[in-house]
Amino acid sequence: MSIQDLIEKTKVSFCQDCGVCTGSCPVSRVLPGFSPQQMVAKYVLSSDLGMEDEVLGEQDVWSCLTCALCLQRCPSKVEYLEFVRGVREEAFRAGNKITHAHDGILQTITQMQTSGLPQNRTAWAREAGTIKEEGEYYLFVGCVPYFDVLFKDMGVSPLGSASDMLKILNKFGIEPVVSDEERCCGHDMLWSGNVDLFKELALHNVELIKRLGCKKVIFGCPEGYLTFKEYYPLYCTDMGLDAVHFYDLVYDQIQEGTFQLSPLEQKVTYHDPCRLGRMAGMYDSPREIIASIPGIKFVEMERNREEAVCCGISCWANCSSYSKQIQMDRIKEAEATGADTLITACPKCNIHFSCALSSAEMGLEVKDLTQLMASAMGI
C-alpha cells in the first residue's frame, strides 16, 4: 500500500504537530533525536512531494518498539502503529532491513520453518500431559520450544511454563491438539516488514488447524494471540477459528471456583505486556488470577494497565544500550513497589527482563504468571 493511501487509511493527516507521541515514547526518552512525530511528518511530506525513496532508507523507523503507547495517547487518534507497520513494509520492499539481535538466529529459525523441515515440536507435550490428534481445542505452542533451547543459560524455562499450561488445561479437562507441523505465528515477520513470509506462515497455520478440525485455538503467548486474532483475518479469508487466551480460560474457571489454590507468601507486582494489554485489551484476567492466590500480596507499579511501559525490545531486533536502559528503568520501577517477584505474562518480556537482571545484581526475581499459578496449584 503506497504511503499516500496509508496516510488516508490511518488518518495521519489529522496529526496536530503536538508531540504527545514523542513525549510519551519510551525510546525518545533514551535515544536522543528519535521523534515519532518528526518521523511521521517526514514520511507525509516526502510522499506528498513524491520523494518517498529518499526517506524509506532511514533507520529511525526500526527503532520504534511498536508498543502502542503513542497510539493510546494521540489526541487526534492517528493509527500510528498501522502507519509504522505499513512504512516498514515499504522500507522492507525497498531493501531496508531491521538489524537483528542474537545474530538473527530467531529470524533464521522462522525462515527455516517455511522450508518444510520436519520439526519435533511436541515431544515435551507428550511428557507434560495428554494431548490429542484432533479435537475442539488446538494449543498453539509458538516458538517457546526454541526459546527454551536458546536462552537456557538465562535461568528461564519457557517450555516449563508451556508444560504447566498444558497440565492446568488437562486439570480443566481440556486435552488440546498439538501438532508438529505448526509453524511460527509470523509476528516478528509482520512487524519487520516481511509481509510475504508472514502471509505464507499464516496461511499454513490456518490450513493446518482447520485440517485438524479444531475450532478454538488456545494461546499462552500474547504475540501469537494478538497476531492470530487481529492480523490473520487481514490476510486469510473465512478462517472460521477464534483465538482464546489461556488466562481467559483460567479466569472463567476462577469465576466458577472449580479449583483451590494453596497460599503463597509472596509480594508480587505485574508487568502488562504491550501486545496483551494495550493492543489486545486484556488487563483484568491476569490480575484476577494473581488475586485469587490466597496469601499473596499484589502491588501495582506506578505505570500500569494502559500506561504500562514496554520491556524495551520487539521482534528480536535493535537490542542496544537504550533498550537496556528502558528495561532497567522498568525493573527499578518494579523494585520500587517493594515486591520481590515481577510477574510477566509474555515469554519474550520474561526473557528480556531476565537478560537485563542477569547482568545486574538486583534482588528482584522474574517469573511467568503460568509458572506462578502452577506452583499455587501444586503442579
Binding site: 508531540g19 514523542t22 513525549g23 525518545s28 521523534s35 500506561e307
Partner: protein, 483 residues
C-alpha cells in the same frame, strides 16, 4: 402581547440578556439553580485582556439585576416543566428551600461563624471549606445565607439550631418548604453556560494523584483574594502539610487536656493516651521540618488543551484556554515577581481585540515562556515535584522539566442540566452537546420562541457571550412584539 420573558441561567450571559430585556420594559424572570447569580465569571480573579478584577466589573451588574424594577430574581431554583409555544409558554419552576428567609437575612455572617459543620466549598473548587450555613461567595446576589440540607445536622436528625439561636434577624427557618410555581412567558432564553472538564480520567496527567497538579479554575481561586488562601499563592502540597501540622497540634492539645483530666482521676488508662501523645510529639517536628523546607512557589507550568482538541474527549477548542493561561501567568507574577511561568501549547489562539498585544507583553514584560508542544505525561520527579514530559517542537528536544505547580487548562463542556432541559423544551443539541443554532440566526434554537446565548451555544469568551446575550434579548423582544 405577553411581555414576560424567562432567562434560564444567572451567569454573565443570563445577566446581560436579563438587563437588556428589563431596560426595554419587559418583565424578566431570571432562574438560577445555585444560591447566587454570577456563574463562572464570578469565580474568576481577573479577566483578559484588560486585567480588570472580574467581580469588580461584574458587581455593578449583579446589583442592577437585583434592584431593577422589571426583574424577578429566582435563585436556588430549577426549571421543571415547559409547555405551550412562542408567545405563551407555561413554565413550572421549583424553588429549593434555603431555610433562611430572604427578606429578613442581612448577611451579617454570625451564623456561619458559629456553625459547627464544615464541608468542601464548591465555589473554591473544594480547596477550602465552608459551613453548612453559607453565602455562595462574598459579593453574591441575593446577599443572603443558605443552609445546605445535605450537610446541616438538623436535617440528619441531630439537634443543633445554633444558627437559629444566634441570628438577630430571626431569619433562620428550618421548616421552610420548597415552593413550586408557574410562570407564563412569551419567550425563553437559555443561558445555562458550561462546565469545566474534569481531567481526572486523563491518567497520564495525574490530576488528583499528584497534589500539585491543579485545574485552571482551581488556580484562579488560589489567585483570588476571597479564595482558599486569601490570594497568597501556595502549592496544594504545602497547603496539605500545613493543614496536617495544624491538625496534629490540635490533637496534641486535646490529648494533653485528656491526660491531665485522667491523672486527676488517677486512673491507670492514662498511659495509653500518654503513649499516643509521645508518638504525636515525635511526628510533629518531622512534619514541621518538612513544612519549613518547602521553598516558595517559583516555577509554574500551564498545560494547554487538556481534554480539548482531543478526539478521545472533546474534539472542539475551548476558545479561551490560551488567553486564560497567559492572564493567569501575568496575574501570578504580581503575587511574586520571581515567579517563572511556562505555557505548553500547540496553536496560540489570541484572536480577540487586544489579545495578541496582551500575549506579546506577557512574554516581554512578565517573562512568560511559550513551549510549542503538548504535554504527554506528568509524573513526579525525584525531588517530589511534578515533572512534565513533552517534546519541544521547535528544538525537537524531549525532556522532563520539573515544576512547583502544574495548571491544566481544561476543556469547556456543556453544563450538566442541558440534556434534560433540551428534552423538556424540545430544542436540538449538536453532537458535542451544545445547543444547535443556524449560523445565520445565531441566537435562535430549533424551537420558535426559545433563544440561546453564551457558552450554552458553544465555547466562547466573555465579550462574545455578552454580545450574544444582547442578541438573544433582541430576538426575544422581536418575537414577543411580532405576536
Amino acid at each position: 402581547m405577553n411581555k414576560e420573558v424567562l432567562v434560564i441561567g444567572g451567569g454573565i450571559a443570563g445577566i446581560q440578556a436579563c438587563l437588556d430585556l428589563a431596560d426595554q420594559g419587559m418583565t424578566v424572570y431570571l432562574v438560577e439553580r445555585l444560591p447566587s447569580i454570577g456563574g463562572k465569571m464570578a469565580q474568576l480573579d481577573k479577566t483578559f485582556p484588560t486585567n480588570d478584577c472580574s467581580i469588580c466589573i461584574m458587581g455593578p451588574k449583579l446589583f442592577e439585576v437585583e434592584r431593577h424594577p422589571n426583574t424577578q430574581l429566582l435563585t436556588y431554583t430549577e426549571v421543571e416543566e415547559v409547555s405551550g409555544e412562542a408567545g405563551n409558554f407555561t413554565v413550572k419552576v421549583r424553588k429549593k428551600p434555603r431555610y433562611v428567609e430572604e427578606d429578613k437575612c442581612t448577611a451579617c455572617g454570625l451564623c456561619a461563624d458559629k456553625c459547627p459543620v464544615a464541608v468542601p466549598d464548591q465555589f473554591n473548587m473544594g480547596m477550602s471549606t465552608r459551613k453548612a450555613i453559607y453565602k455562595y461567595f462574598p459579593q453574591g446576589i441575593p446577599s443572603v445565607y443558605t443552609i445546605d440540607d445535605s450537610a446541616c445536622r438538623i436535617f440528619k436528625g441531630k439537634k443543633c439550631n445554633i444558627c437559629a439561636k444566634i441570628c438577630e434577624a430571626k431569619a433562620v427557618n428550618y421548616e421552610q418548604k420548597e415552593t413550586v410555581f408557574e410562570l407564563n412567558v412569551g419567550a425563553i432564553i437559555v443561558a445555562t453556560g458550561f462546565e469545566v472538564f474534569d481531567p481526572s480520567d486523563i491518567k497520564p496527567y495525574g490530576y488528583r494523584t499528584i497534589p500539585d497538579v491543579i485545574t485552571a479554575m482551581e488556580f484562579e481561586r488560589l489567585l483570588n483574594a476571597s479564595g482558599p488562601t486569601g490570594g497568597h499563592l501556595e502549592r496544594p502540597s504545602s497547603l496539605k502539610i500545613k493543614a496536617e501540622i495544624r491538625q496534629l497540634e490540635k490533637q496534641i492539645k486535646k490529648a494533653k487536656t485528656r491526660l491531665k483530666s485522667l491523672e486527676k482521676k488517677s486512673e491507670e488508662s492514662g498511659d495509653e493516651t500518654r503513649k499516643a501523645l509521645e508518638e504525636m510529639n515525635e511526628r510533629l517536628p518531622v512534619l514541621q521540618a518538612k513544612g519549613a523546607s518547602l521553598e516558595e512557589l517559583r516555577d509554574i507550568a500551564f498545560v494547554q488543551c487538556v481534554g480539548s482538541r482531543d478526539l478521545r474527549y472533546n474534539a472542539h477548542c475551548c476558545s479561551y484556554g490560551c488567553m486564560h493561561s497567559v492572564k493567569e501567568a501575568v496575574v501570578a507574577t504580581e503575587h511574586g515577581s520571581e515567579l517563572q511561568s511556562t505555557i505548553f501549547l500547540t496553536d496560540m489562539r489570541a484572536y480577540g481585540k487586544g489579545f495578541h498585544q496582551y500575549c506579546l507583553r506577557g512574554a516581554s514584560e512578565y517573562g512568560i515562556q511559550f513551549v510549542r508542544g503538548r504535554v504527554a505525561e506528568i509524573g513526579v520527579g525525584d525531588d517530589g515535584r511534578p515533572a512534565v514530559w513533552c517534546e519541544d517542537m521547535d528544538t525537537r528536544k524531549v525532556e522532563e522539566r520539573p515544576f512547583d505547580l502544574v495548571v491544566l487548562a481544561t476543556a469547556c463542556v456543556p453544563s450538566k442540566g442541558i440534556e434534560n432541559l433540551s428534552s423538556m423544551i424540545g430544542f436540538d443539541l449538536d453532537e458535542n452537546g451544545f445547543v444547535k443554532t443556524d449560523p445565520n440566526k445565531p441566537a435562535n434554537t430549533s424551537v420558535k420562541g426559545i433563544f440561546v446565548c453564551g457558552c450554552a451555544e458553544g465555547p466562547m469568551d466573555i465579550p462574545s457571550s455578552v454580545s450574544m446575550a444582547s442578541a438573544a434579548a433582541s430576538m426575544a423582544v422581536q418575537t414577543v412584539k411580532a405576536l
